[in-house]
């Protein structure tokens, strides 16, 4: 889908973006990234980085060179050529895909929703279904196969080859030395892309992921460099602090990828969500403050003018529900408007990335269509209105009566997404850099971030509102599921 320039939102001014960029460069040049992979550390040093103990410090000019060198357009081909597409950094074009590595499948039974461990058979079913859903543009591996780890890549490739005709994002490569075999099975490397979580938060490079990134980039395959910080546990609770750390972790990946191969086909995948500090610290993927932060990361990526792999629509709900619908629609709308190009985890995902459901893929396919239409029909309308209209229509379509109370709740969420609760200034940047440094240099870093979050918690950084609780009418889903063919 394409959005108009008027619909593209910028929640920060360009000087605020500059501030985040400068703060990020401070994080990278002062604190750096812990690298225990000797070859990678040497490679970075040969390009201008410095070593300080086990940390590698990246100077600003290296970051800016990587941003200049990196690929600005990336082509994704598919077995069915009609499904191929190009991501162009400067365009407002959004494509949607699945996502995952979920542990469970949620299934509808006569006693309600039931969770079961996911495996190869589920992967086949999901791929077959998504091949027939019109709003799925590409497939990111939703669940893994239930086979030993050293066979995972090959097994997964075979299922992708047999059940998908769309661009294929295999996500995690388990064994680097199986890459050639995987490409042989798929038949054409141009269909394939990956995701690498290179840096564990806060600021530690994962050694095996370094090797995997190298193997993928050397083959000139597209790869999303991913960081999923959790404000309050693996990153500052402050949005300013979290954005800087997240950006530093992703841009470190850009520096490395472009050191391996200038012009590397890298996508920016920044997922700055929050930790539920009201309860057990679990991640909040689709709550208003997380939607705001992911939107800001998406906008930051567009500020750099590089291809953006955004993540939108991972509900925190354990099963298909009215609440899940409202979360997903709000999230997609803001991420689309923020300029996300290659939006994954957009369909099927529940339970904080831990579950997927065939029913949810169909629900999301229907909902995405509504969101797309809202953008298309109202080229100049503000995103807050588009989000409201789409949420209301989406809920109604599944049998929910949207009364004033629900509307009020939806409005409060939109307000939270749009409102900044923190100053964007030098003082805040310095304070956040200090917290990051402290967390990085002490063991049990997550406790540093947690302790530093007490004031923000009381300032309302985490949205508190009401769940939308109402039974769903799934007639449409049944009809759709009956009309598709999926392996028994």
């Amino acid at each position: 889908m394409i959005i108009s320039d008027a619909q593209q939102i910028k929640m920060l001014s360009s000087s605020e973006m500059d501030l985040i960029h400068e703060g990020t460069c401070r994080v990278l040049s002062q604190i750096g990234v812990k690298v225990t992979h000797e070859d990678i550390a040497e490679l970075l040093v040969s390009k201008g980085a410095q070593r300080k103990g086990d940390r590698v410090l990246i100077p600003k000019n290296m970051v800016e060179k990587a941003l200049a060198d990196t690929a600005k357009t990336i082509q994704f081909d598919a077995p069915n050529p009609d499904y191929g597409f190009t991501v162009n950094a400067s365009e407002n074009q959004a494509k949607f895909g699945t996502g995952g590595q979920a542990l469970y499948m949620v299934e509808r039974t006569s006693e309600g929703w039931k969770e079961k461990l996911a495996g190869a058979h589920d992967l086949k079913q999901i791929l077959a279904l998504c091949d027939q859903l019109e709003n799925v543009d590409f497939i990111t591996r939703p669940v893994e196969c239930d086979v030993p780890e050293d066979q995972m890549d090959v097994e997964k490739a075979k299922i992708f080859r047999d059940y998908s005709s769309k661009p294929m994002n295999l996500a995690n490569l388990f064994k680097r030395d199986r890459l050639d075999e995987v490409l042989d099975i798929i038949g054409d490397p141009a269909y394939v892309s990956f995701i690498v979580c290179l840096v564990s938060s806060p600021l530690v490079m994962d050694t095996p992921s370094g090797d995997k990134l190298k193997a993928i980039v050397e083959k000139d395959l597209p790869v999303a460099i991913s960081s999923c910080t959790q404000g309050g546990s693996t990153a500052p609770f402050s949005e300013v602090g979290e954005l800087m750390q997240l950006n530093a972790e992703v841009l470190f990946g850009y520096v490395l990828a472009n050191a391996i191969r200038p012009g590397a086909k890298v996508l920016y995948r920044g997922i700055p969500i929050t930790s539920n500090l009201y309860s057990d610290g679990s991640p909040r993927w689709c709550q208003p403050e997380s939607i705001r932060r992911v939107a800001l990361a998406t906008q930051l990526c567009r500020y750099y003018n590089i291809p953006c792999c955004a993540t939108a629509g991972v509900s925190d709900e354990a099963e298909p529900s009215a609440q899940a619908i409202s979360e997903k629609v709000l999230c997609w709308t803001y991420i689309i408007a923020s300029g996300g190009h290659y939006i994954n985890s957009a369909l099927g995902m529940l339970n904080q990335v831990m579950s997927v459901s065939l029913d949810q893929y169909v629900i999301d396919d229907i909902l995405l269509k509504i969101v797309k239409e809202k953008f298309k029909k109202n080229e100049s309308k503000e995103v807050s209105h588009l989000a409201m209209d789409a949420m209301v229509e989406g809920l109604k379509l599944f049998g929910i009566t949207v009364d004033e109370k629900i509307e009020e709740e939806l409005r409060a969420r939109i307000e939270h997404v749009e409102k900044s609760l923190e100053p964007y200034n030098e003082d805040n940047v310095s304070q956040q850099v200090d917290i990051i440094e402290k967390a990085v240099t002490q063991s049990g870093g997550s406790t540093v971030f947690m302790k530093a979050s007490r004031v923000g918690l009381r300032k309302g950084y985490l949205y508190t509102g009401n769940r939308i609780d109402s039974p769903l009418d799934l007639t449409r889903v049944d009809e759709r599921l009956e009309a598709v063919s999926i392996p028994e």
Partner: protein
């Protein structure tokens, strides 16, 4: 300041999760004022009986627990108070007579090899330390050899293992097997992490599965009471 005033103040700073002069405390205003560590040192210098300090820690943590139950306190508040007590114990410990009854036991904790997840493990470690146990945290991605070496050296009563990936659950199984094979049959093994369950614990020969830090604390206290 009288002894009672000092103990009251100590209870207050623990409640506010004010660890030392450097942190801001619960309400963000306490930086630069004496925190738990400073007050504990002062109390010891003034000759206050260490047992009275321990009582104060217990009283403060009880209040923290109540405030958490009632919704006034949140996870970070509890963590900060837990850390206050954990750090204070390290200062008080050398002053206590060996083998005194408040030695709750030693807890060794680690995230198994291949796994980098530590948020949950850190919460568990902090809370257990705050409850008065000795905690040794080996960190993340810890090979079985290192865990066994640490057991030999540290002689824990309890070992806690964390795994968040289905792929590292098998590593957890190996670690438990090695611990038992090396003859440590008395050590109680606690496991946790999203993909694990009591069923899995039973299968691999671990003693307890805990779904969160609270359950870990409860089970730990029960096991200790039973022995």
């Amino acid at each position: 300041m009288s002894e009672q005033e000092l103990l009251n103040e100590l209870e207050h700073v623990i409640l506010m999760g004010h660890i030392n002069e450097e942190d801001e405390g619960l309400d963000g205003t306490m930086q630069g004022t004496p925190g738990t560590e400073e007050l504990v040192k002062k109390a010891l210098e003034e000759g206050i009986d260490p047992e009275k300090l321990l009582k104060t820690f217990g009283k403060a943590m009880e209040k923290v627990g109540e405030k958490f139950e009632s919704g006034e306190f949140f996870l970070p508040d509890m963590m900060a108070s837990g850390e206050c007590v954990g750090n204070a114990m390290e200062i008080v410990e050398p002053k206590l007579a060996a083998g005194t009854s408040y030695e709750k036991g030693k807890f060794l904790i680690a995230t198994v090899q291949g796994d980098l997840h530590d948020i949950g493990k850190n919460i568990v470690a902090t809370m257990i330390k705050g409850a008065g146990y000795h905690v040794k945290d080996l960190g993340i991605d810890v090979p079985a050899d290192n865990i066994l070496e640490a057991i030999k050296e540290y002689e824990p009563n309890f070992v806690g293992l964390s795994a968040l990936l289905t792929t590292t659950m098998t590593e957890m199984e190996q670690v438990v097997k090695r611990i038992r094979e090396e003859g440590y049959s008395d050590i109680k093994i606690f496991i946790g992490g999203v993909p694990t369950s009591q069923e899995f614990a039973d299968k691999i020969g671990a003693d307890h599965h805990c779904k969160d830090a609270m359950e870990a604390l409860n089970k730990l206290e029960k096991v200790r009471d039973a022995s």
